[in-house]
């Protein structure tokens, strides 16, 4: 049997601030199969970005374990984490996704550079990706010359070209108007159709509806996990083995 792409067990993250300890994540268990499109929702400060950083191997959990593609990556060393990020994970952030002093195409190539893709191939794939997001004519523009939506599309092209299996998008439409946001979501949806797994963080229920499954968080805990039922409302969607130990423990 193919192991799930993501298997997070009891992930917990605490921050020490002097004597106080802030719990950003209280112990989240989450299983994501390859090819899923999952939205993580919740109020500000509920731990969405924290979870995302843990899944993206940018941060270490305080407790819990994390398997990525069947491999235990909880205690991976810094270099090995960087290598995994370069090859398996693509990030799209809310803003400042691009290096200001590199052109659009160079920004697209950057992730492939760290993944060790040869120069010629990189250029080719970057051009193709930019054309896919309809920015073929803006290759040599600086990020400052692009609109917010265009910048996000460059970030999507970067993921597209590098081709990681897992895409982590933290409020990719947060800084965009509704129409532009929809364009970006359509592109993500295309990516998902080609088999990429997408984890999307958003505040916006309309955006979340592009996903096939929604996990809701509050105060560092996952409080619901349901499939999106597209034609009817989503209210009666089936619950799917979510877990927050404080609430489920006897």
């Amino acid at each position: 049997m193919v192991p799930p792409l993501i298997q997070a067990t009891e992930l917990r993250k605490e921050h020490r601030l002097g004597d106080a300890t802030v719990t950003a994540l209280c112990g989240v268990s989450l299983t994501i199969e390859s090819g899923e499109f999952i939205a993580i929702m919740g109020p500000s400060g509920s731990g969405k970005s924290t979870l995302m950083h843990l899944l993206g191997l940018l941060d270490h959990p305080t407790a819990g374990s994390y398997r990525l593609g069947g491999r235990d990556v909880t205690d991976l060393g810094a270099d090995e984490r960087a290598r995994t990020r370069a090859q398996k994970i693509g990030f799209i952030f809310q803003a400042f996704n691009l290096l200001g002093r590199s052109t659009a195409i160079e920004n697209v190539e950057l992730a492939m550079t760290y993944a060790g893709v040869p120069r010629k191939e990189r250029r080719l794939r970057a051009v193709t990706a930019l054309e896919k997001v309809s920015l073929g004519h803006r290759q040599h523009h600086w990020p400052g010359q692009l609109s917010g939506g265009e910048q996000q599309r460059v970030a999507i092209a970067r993921v597209l070209a590098a081709g990681p299996g897992l895409i982590l998008a933290d409020e990719p439409t947060g800084a965009l108007d509704t129409a532009t946001g929809r364009e970006v979501m359509a592109l993500l949806q295309d990516l998902n159709r080609t088999g990429r797994t997408i984890v999307l963080v958003t505040h916006d229920p309309a955006i979340a509806r592009y996903a096939k499954r929604i996990v809701r968080m509050q105060d560092g805990c996952a409080i619901s996990d349901e499939a999106v039922v597209r034609d009817v409302g989503s209210d009666d969607a089936a619950s799917q083995g979510l877990a927050c130990p404080e609430k489920t423990a006897p």
């Binding site: 993206g56 940018l58 960087a82 990030f91 952030f93 550079t113 760290y114």
Partner: protein, 411 residues
């Protein structure tokens, strides 16, 4: 990520902030320029001194009659002509470090050829003189022992004399008159150029056998038939000079029967010393440049470190983004290290150019010989590269250790 990639990224960063990069490099530019100029002036001067010492004759001591100046009073002026051919012979045979000791007399004189006439210096010498001064006979031959013993009327002429008396004519075998005595030219001396100490043209000279000089040309001596003006002594090596000097002093005091409290009635000089004194001027300038070079290189290194630290802080988000995209710590570290080194090397390159101009300019103004050696250029580059690595390491290390999350959150 490979080096070519890293270099490309670093170059972009340097280019992106061109003005700031140039200002940052200023210390390096000045430092390397001073280094290049220092070596150019220093090695040029040293080369000139070496050349002049060589032209004078290596490992040479000159012994003159009379005492050294003491308290402004010149002592022993009465016994001016107290060095003799026998003194020379004794030095040559009794001091083991001595190769030759050449008794010599010299006078200003006139030399006439056909209608041309020229004032020059006539030297009465033995064959040992040419050995002592490493002087070659370029055309013709030197004196034979027979000619020296029989006081033959033969002469060796210096290049300047040839230039002035024989316009393109072959001087060998020609007849000239020196102090109205007819002489046959048997040889032409190789060119030596100016004497660094006195500035005198060393090629403006005619050399005749010592015996001939005494008997026929330069007049007989009041004190003794064997008296000479000075002795030129060649010693085996530079290291042997001090010991030879001491032994010669003792030998001459003994031969001149000086009481133990009497001052020397002769002086032993090292002619190269006067040149080395002249070289002190260029050397102090060299030290000044060395001081400028080392201070600016250190200041330049620190300013590069400072700018790199600022740059790391400014680019915290960029570092976070790169890390998210898969940059390893060493990729980040190399990126900043290469950037710092590149700044230093560019500074070094500009420094080499500026330094060469400065050296040539100073050389022209001060009329010093300049020698911009490839080795000094290489040294400039190695130095600036090393400074880049040394002062760039800490900022680069700091950047590499940034936590990705904190870097991404950095405003």
């Amino acid at each position: 990520m490979n080096m070519a990639e890293t270099i490309r990224i670093a170059w972009r960063a340097v280019k992106a902030n061109l003005l700031r990069s140039t200002l940052t490099m200023l210390g390096m530019i000045i430092g390397v320029a001073a280094l290049i100029a220092m070596v150019a002036v220093g090695s040029g001067a040293q080369g000139q001194i070496d050349e002049q010492i060589r032209s004078l004759g290596a490992n040479l001591l000159m012994i003159q009659p009379g005492s050294a100046n003491q308290g402004g009073v010149r002592l022993g002026t009465g016994s001016r002509q107290n060095l003799s051919e026998e003194d020379a012979a004794a030095i040559a045979s009794e001091v083991p470090e001595v190769i030759v000791a050449a008794p010599t007399i010299s006078r200003a004189t006139q030399i006439v050829h056909a209608n041309a006439n020229w004032s020059t210096l006539a030297g009465g010498i033995t064959p040992a003189y040419l050995v002592a001064r490493d002087w070659r006979v370029e055309a013709g031959r030197g004196f034979t022992l027979d000619e020296v013993e029989t006081a033959a009327k033969v002469v060796l002429v210096g290049a300047t004399v040839v230039d002035n008396l024989f316009e393109g004519e072959d001087p060998l075998g020609q007849l000239v008159r020196i102090a109205n005595v007819p002489f046959t030219i048997v040889g032409v001396l190789s060119r030596k150029g100016q004497n660094a100490g006195s500035g005198r043209d060393q090629d403006d000279v005619v050399l005749i056998p010592l015996s001939t000089a005494k008997l026929r040309v330069l007049g007989s001596n009041k004190v003794s038939r064997s008296a000479v003006d000075f002795l030129m002594v060649k010693v085996v090596s530079d290291d042997a000079i001090v010991s030879a000097q001491e032994q010669i002093r003792r030998l001459l005091r003994q031969r001149h029967r000086l009481a133990s409290d009497a001052p020397d009635d002769f002086q032993i000089r090292k002619p190269s010393e006067t040149m080395e004194a002249r070289a002190a001027a260029t050397r102090s300038f060299t030290f000044l440049l060395a001081a400028i070079a080392s201070v600016s290189l250190v200041v330049g290194g620190i300013s590069i470190m400072n700018i790199m630290l600022v740059s790391v802080t400014e680019r915290t988000r960029e570092i976070g983004l790169r890390q998210a995209l898969g940059a390893r710590r060493r990729d980040i570290r190399n990126q900043f290290l290469v950037e710092a080194t590149m700044l230093c090397l560019l500074g070094g390159l500009l420094g080499v150019i500026v330094g060469t101009f400065v050296a040539v300019g100073v050389g022209k103004l001060a009329e010093w010989p300049i020698w911009v050696s490839p080795a000094s250029i290489a040294l400039g580059f190695v130095f600036s590269g090393a400074i880049g690595v040394f002062f760039g390491f800490y900022p680069a290390h700091k950047a590499a250790l940034l936590d990705p999350i904190e870097a991404l959150r950095y405003e």
